[in-house]
Symmetry: C2
């Protein structure tokens, strides 16, 4: 499994991904699911992946290969003139890779189902957030629903629903994202540390934070413990109210 979430706020973009993959509970590995591209002053792009790992790795590799070995007539995500165009390019790459293995999936009954979250800002544009599906089609986050989750979304959704609106300050949103991940880590063994966090403030075209949070990270452990205490205290208050 996987849990990745991305928030698009007035203040900017927050992206958080875990790093655990599994093929059954007896086959657990660590794979990065967050990929970033940064051209200072021009664009900053974050992608996070869920679903069939072979598919999403192939999509990311294809996108990177086209950047590394430019070919006439093939537009890359680092050249694209808008974030919408970036999402289209990712969708096209998804379609290409899916079609390559479609017969195999049909024959074996396996699923190539995958999704990729694409977040970023290009110079002259606004921060935008997309979710690309298996078919290569995609949706964009709006003010009504300013976040996307892929993978194991249920455990981490309530806190986002209760707290996140488009005008939530970015630091508050980072805390909410980490708590959303904490709830998911607790309840689903197939979501695991370390985490990758990327924070992009609007119009900076740069990362304000771009770091890995390791299993031994003291600040995250303290956050997790404090949240346990606060939730327990909230519940104790409820018990008093209903007594």
């Amino acid at each position: 499994m996987t849990y990745c979430l991305a928030l698009k706020l007035d203040d900017g973009l927050v992206c958080l991904a875990d790093t655990r993959t599994n093929a059954g509970v007896d086959n657990i590995s660590r794979f990065r699911k967050m990929f970033t591209w940064h051209i200072p002053g021009d664009r900053v792009i974050v992608m996070m992946t869920a679903g069939n790992l072979a598919i999403t790795q192939a999509v990311i590799s294809l996108l990177q290969e086209n950047i590394d070995n430019p070919k006439e007539g093939i537009e890359t995500i680092t050249e694209a003139t808008s974030m919408f165009r970036v999402a289209e390019i990712v969708g096209d790459a998804m379609q290409f890779v899916q079609s390559r293995y479609a017969k195999g999936f049909a024959a074996t009954g396996e699923s190539g189902s995958s999704s990729i979250v694409v977040a970023g800002q290009r110079e002259g544009g606004t921060p935008r957030l997309f979710q690309v599906y298996t078919a290569g089609n995609f949706i964009e986050a709006t003010d009504d629903t300013p976040y996307f989750q892929i993978g194991e979304f249920k455990y981490g959704k309530p806190i986002l629903d209760r707290v996140i609106t488009t005008d939530t300050p970015i630091d508050v949103a980072v805390t909410a994202s980490l708590l959303s991940m904490d709830s998911t880590l607790r309840s689903n063994l197939s979501v695991g540390m370390p985490l990758d966090l990327a924070v992009i403030r609007t119009d900076t075209l740069d990362f304000e934070q771009h770091r890995r949070i390791e299993e031994q990270d003291e600040a995250f452990a303290e956050l997790s413990e404090a949240w346990s205490r606060e939730l327990r205290a909230a519940f104790d208050t409820m018990v008093q109210i209903t007594a």
Copy 2:
């Protein structure tokens, strides 16, 4: 969908069920999922159902029919000498009904997947809690995991994991159960009011509470609002801690 939960505590049993069923989001109905049998001084039994509604209704009807029209050699849940035996009878009824429709399910590709939670106490025994699966086999709750959930379990699980142990007082457990249901109602449209609540204190062989909580129930609405406020306050504390 459905959400039912049952807790087995030192103090007794708490059972809570919603009443919404759906075949697609455009076909929503209200069906009772909690069924009770009470012979004062002898036994009290609660069952809650999830999954294929035709299957679970048939199982409950079959159990009731055998009580209403006793047949030589057919043991009923109101005669069974232990709660373990009650669970076996429910499992046998599940097997019987599943086998009756197995060919049809195979032909149509539909699923008869169902589960039934069986909770209760018989005179001379202890309170026990079982979960019966589609195949008629079943598991029993223990002190390590003193609760079962069927249907949409994810949204309501974190509060139970954080709060419920076997020595949790029954009133506290009722509050936790209602909050677990509240989280599920908020996040999954296919779980809906009204609710059915049954509380059985150990060795009373009677219901301490046995009531329907309607959509207009003021106490439940207040509980829900207070929980929103407390969670929000807990989160605000987290924001201060991380600032």
